[in-house]
């Protein structure tokens, strides 16, 4: 699906594409590092190159004018490779000024997405959280009880959706929020937003932090 300007806006090939297969991305550090480092060298956490920068900005701004700037909110973009995937994080200028040896092999504290197989920008879980803070585009707002169930990996039924972006169509990836508009995860639209049937299937949700790990001291 494309918007009138012809820029990918919604669906499987743009910023809202969910990270369904973390191992499917491109390998390596990107154009700037491939020649300098031996193949087995750990990845360098670095600024995006010109093409990567443009891909991310275009992808976000195609959804809503000025969205890229709001998404960054004064922070910097970082790119680093991990498990064969080029990941994208939000970071600070000071991090990017650290000696290269400290940035090599490091992961970003706030990852927000990755580059997909077609060099497209894909949001991940925390990217969706950042998204929900700045726009309601491509979003579905669930009622309180449905929000709780979504965090346990349950589907959203049409009757439990308080509001949704009218541009969303079956097959589109969407950000799911609670009644306050706080991001809870990513889903895929599977049906109509009217009636009683299933409307959204979960893809990633914040409940994974509980399901997969003990976070506490």
């Amino acid at each position: 699906m494309t918007d009138p300007s012809g820029v990918p806006a919604v669906g499987e090939t743009d910023a809202m594409s969910a990270q369904a297969d973390p191992g499917a991305g491109h390998r390596g550090d990107g154009p700037g590092d491939a020649a300098a480092a031996p193949p087995e060298a750990p990845s360098l956490l670095r600024r995006p190159d010109e093409m990567e920068h443009e891909t991310i900005h275009k992808s976000l701004n195609a959804v809503e004018k000025g969205l890229a700037e709001r998404f960054l909110a004064g922070r910097e973009l970082a790119v680093y490779a991990e498990n064969g995937v080029r990941r994208i994080g939000l970071t600070t200028a000071r991090v990017l000024e650290l000696p290269e040896s400290l940035r090599r092999g490091a992961a970003c504290g706030l990852p927000v997405g990755e580059f997909g197989p077609d060099e497209d920008f894909r949001l991940d879980l925390q990217g969706a959280m950042e998204w929900a803070r700045i726009t309601q585009a491509q979003s579905v707002r669930a009622a309180e009880k449905a929000s709780r169930l979504f965090l346990y990996g349950r589907n959203l039924l049409a009757g439990s959706i308080l509001r949704h972006d009218p541009k969303l169509r079956p097959g589109d990836t969407c950000v799911v929020t609670n009644p306050r508009g706080e991001g809870l995860g990513l889903g895929v639209v599977v049906g109509k937003f009217k009636g009683t049937g299933e409307a959204v299937h979960p893809v990633h949700d914040l409940g994974r932090y509980l399901r997969e790990q003990d976070l506490d001291e």
């Binding site: 970003c108 504290g109 959280m129 003990d214 976070l215």
Partner: protein, 330 residues
């Protein structure tokens, strides 16, 4: 190899140890520590048998304490503030696990013991600085530091254990710690020297301070202390290497034994470090224990008294040791 003190156990100590399932040698050490730190020994021993209250800390990168408190009250929680840290809430009645709320998953809160908050408080990280957290998992203190830095600057979080590094990543992600990077390696392998303005080493330790919630630790052996002391020495050397001259090092453990605490800090004092006063001296109105300066088998400088100790039963927390040091200018 560090000398491990083995104070004798008198009849009263032996009786207490037998009654509560502690080894006699360990009980005698606990009594000796409390006396050396000027703590009320009966209160302390009683505190080792009972769980302290639960706490959560509000992540200022995601929400304010007032907002979180209102939201938790609406969910049926009872919470109250504590004087040590304005972002910490003591949990009273809890209708569900505080780690399973939406607020927790949204990164607004972390669960930690009250005393744990003292290490980042002692570090006093500021926006724009370069800070290293050398044994960072599970990342609750790292997130506290990122909050103090207002997400400005660079926070290098280091964790050797890959499984624990995963918890570190999850906590930093949830909390929105954009200023942080994660290195999964032994801190002793860190590249470069003198790049950090501040270093936190909350060192791996025997964990005696967690006795109130972990009965298995009641039969601690001296050999375990010696093993951990070797790890602590190695990590402190790493901390010394990455800290810039004039920078601040905070050393903390959740254990009582002076061999793992004051004796380790004394090594750095002999290298020209100096003790710094901590920005707190009490917890919930009760004065904290002072650092120990008299312990069998070790010569400990008087300035170690500036370190602080949390004692279960005396303070409403698990046991904890924290010291702040300044590295000599070049």
């Amino acid at each position: 190899m560090v000398d491990i003190a083995r104070p004798p156990a008198g009849p009263q100590v032996r009786a207490w140890a037998t009654k509560h399932g502690f080894s006699e040698a360990f009980a005698a050490r606990l009594v000796a520590v409390s006396r050396a730190a000027g703590a009320d020994t009966p209160l302390f021993l009683d505190g080792l048998l009972r769980r302290p209250p639960r706490y959560l800390r509000v992540n200022p990168l995601r929400a304010s304490p007032e907002e979180v408190r209102k939201r938790l009250i609406a969910r049926g929680f009872e919470t109250s503030r504590v004087d040590l840290d304005e972002h910490v809430l003591r949990i009273g009645h809890a209708p569900m696990s505080p780690g399973a709320t939406q607020e927790h998953l949204l990164g607004m809160t972390t669960l930690q013991d009250l005393a744990s908050a003292s290490a980042p408080l002692a570090l006093q990280a500021r926006p724009g600085e370069v800070v290293a957290d050398l044994a960072a998992a599970p990342g609750v203190k790292s997130l506290h530091i990122a909050g103090d830095m207002q997400n400005l600057g660079a926070l290098v979080c280091v964790e050797r254990d890959a499984a624990r590094a995963r918890a570190l990543r999850f906590n930093l992600e949830r909390g929105g710690a954009a200023c942080a990077i994660i290195r999964t390696e032994d801190a002793a392998q860190l590249p470069e020297k003198g790049w950090a303005d501040r270093v936190l080493l909350d060192a791996p330790c025997t964990g005696e301070g967690t006795l109130p919630k972990d009965r298995k630790r009641r039969r601690m052996r001296g050999e375990e202390i010696a093993e951990l002391c070797a790890v602590q020495e190695r990590l402190l050397d790493a901390a010394d290497r990455v800290l810039r001259p004039g920078g601040t090092l905070v050393y903390a453990t959740c254990t009582f034994g002076p061999e793992e605490n004051e004796v380790q800090v004394a090594r750095l004092l002999r290298r020209g470090y100096s003790m710094q006063r901590l920005p707190f001296d009490r917890c919930t109105g009760v004065l904290l224990g002072r650092g120990i300066t008299d312990w069998p088998g070790h010569e400990l400088p008087a300035e170690l008294a500036h370190a602080r100790r949390f004692f279960p039963g005396i303070h409403p927390s698990l046991g904890f040791f924290v010291a702040a040091l300044r590295k000599e200018d070049a």
